[in-house]
Amino acid sequence: MLLKLARQSLWHRRGTVLMTLLSLTISIALLLGIDHLRLEAKRSFTSTVSGTDLIVGARSGQLNLLLYSVFRLGNATNNISYQHYQQLSSHPQVAWAIPMALGDSHRGFRVIGTNGDYFRYFRYGQQQSLSFAKGEAFSTVYQVVLGATVAEKLGYQLGDQIILSHGVGAVSFTQHKDQPFAVVGILAATGTPVDQSVHVSLESIEAIHLGWQGGAPGFGKKPKLNDTQLQQLEPKVLTAFMLGLKSKVATFAIQRQINEFKAEPLTAILPGAALAELWQMLAMVENMLLLVTLLVLIAALIGMVTTLLAAMKERQREMAILRAVGARPWQLFCLIQLEVFCISLASIGSALLLLCGSLAVLQPLLSSSYGLVISWLPWHGHTAALLAALLALALLLGAIPSYLTYRQSLAQGLTVRL
């Protein structure tokens, strides 16, 4: 009975109610969206690298090293010598090492020079290893293994020939045109930056830069390498490498040894600790963002109360008639609260729909341009509690117009004013 009344009364005032609903929907979607993105970004970042004990690069801050080596964001401060990589990776405590040489790209996707150990030892998510959707790992120079997104976006198949460019921009004017690469493998999707990477061997990186001087192609025709020369190519520099240790207890000791390595200034980081530092730095921004969103939400709720209060005047007669036909004051209180509840619930519903819809639309974009894999379902353990708190807040604020209705005397509404 009350529900029917509430519904029909709302329908009667659908113009203003719709606007209230819209502003509430947007602010709830904003709140849930920011909360969701925050958690999903954390999850996505954390699952990008797993099982790697240390990442080693040239001396720099740990965040910089983490970002360029794992997330392919930003650039290295310096290169490190291949000889020192060999020296450190033969340390008795080291179980495996993955070398990485960055700095080239293919149509906006970064190229990583590495070796077969990358496919053998790299782990992501819950200790999952990389697997091939098609083909296999590269075995010699001029062969390339593509990440899932690269292959899909650029429509490459096994056997296709591609050309790498120097530098990491989307459009490059210096291309390694004379040395095409053949696609020999395509990795299965991982939901990490690996999907956006183009993998070649360290020797290939060496081969395409052979004869270059000072970061530019040398003059004259480049000497064409024969097979034996290709076999003899030796990498000289790397950008970074990942280490897996035999015993986790040794982690900090090895980190200290690398940081104090005399032959070259190096930095070794624990990916987990570097990520934790990143979250600490971002916590402030996160909290500000949540605070702003909460304020927007409260503004929207106050807006709802304001429209209800404004409607009180024109509804005096309606309320009085309800009282006249026998409604108790508490029933009127409940009626208004029910209206508030309906508006809030409808807003939450449409906010969730809006969010799911926009996430589903934005998902491919986020994953291809930022390497962030965001689930389209904005629901977490605490979301129900959050929404319940939101409803409670709405009802609390809604109590103001409800109480005023409750207080209103019968006479006030029925008296015909002139």
């Binding site: 000791a253 200290r256 987990g272 600790a273």
Partner: protein, 180 residues
């Protein structure tokens, strides 16, 4: 005439620059090793803790002044005694306590004093620890802040069964709660 002289002057200056840069280049090429100038911070120490299975290791690195209380070379008897006492305290491991329930004991320790430049000494101490019930190791409390008043905070990086995290400890917040 005038211009001629200035030209000569320029070429002279240029050759000096070239020579100097060549010398500098040679100097750099000879430097096979580099010296580390680690961050030497007063009031701050850094600590790493790792637990894997039932083995653990706890390492503290700090400027000597944080522990001893002064930076200059101990000269008077009182200073020497204070230095001795504080270093013994640091080596004994009496400045931290692992949660009782984990039933841990120190199985070995190393101590190193690294003399930096201009009396800036750094202390390094590590403890190998064995725990009978590592799953119950929920926290580590530090009494170092009261034992070494010059110490203000400790930056902690820890790794418990593969999960890394960071924390900052101070006199007011001297218990490291291990998240796992």
């Amino acid at each position: 005439m005038n211009t001629n002289r200035s030209k000569k002057c320029w070429s002279g200056a240029l050759s000096i620059v070239v020579m100097a840069s060549m010398m500098l280049g040679a100097g750099l090429a000879q430097a096979q090793q580099h010296n580390e100038h680690g961050a030497h911070q007063h009031g701050k120490a850094s600590l790493t803790f790792v637990l894997d299975g039932n083995e653990a290791e706890l390492v503290l690195t700090t400027a000597a002044a944080n522990i001893v209380g002064f930076e200059h070379k101990a000269s008077t008897d009182a200073e020497k005694q204070q230095q001795q006492q504080q270093l013994e305290m640091l080596k004994s491991g009496s400045w931290f306590a692992l949660a009782e329930a984990a039933n841990c004991s120190i199985s070995g320790h190393n101590f190193r004093e690294e003399q930096g430049e201009a009396n800036h000494a750094d202390l390094y101490v590590d403890f190998q620890i064995l725990c009978q019930a590592p799953l119950k190791l929920s926290d580590i409390s530090f009494s170092l802040f009261s034992q070494s008043p010059a110490l203000e905070s400790i930056d902690v990086q820890y790794l418990v069964n593969g999960e890394a995290a960071v924390a900052e400890l101070s006199a007011k917040n001297a218990v490291l709660k291990l998240i796992r």
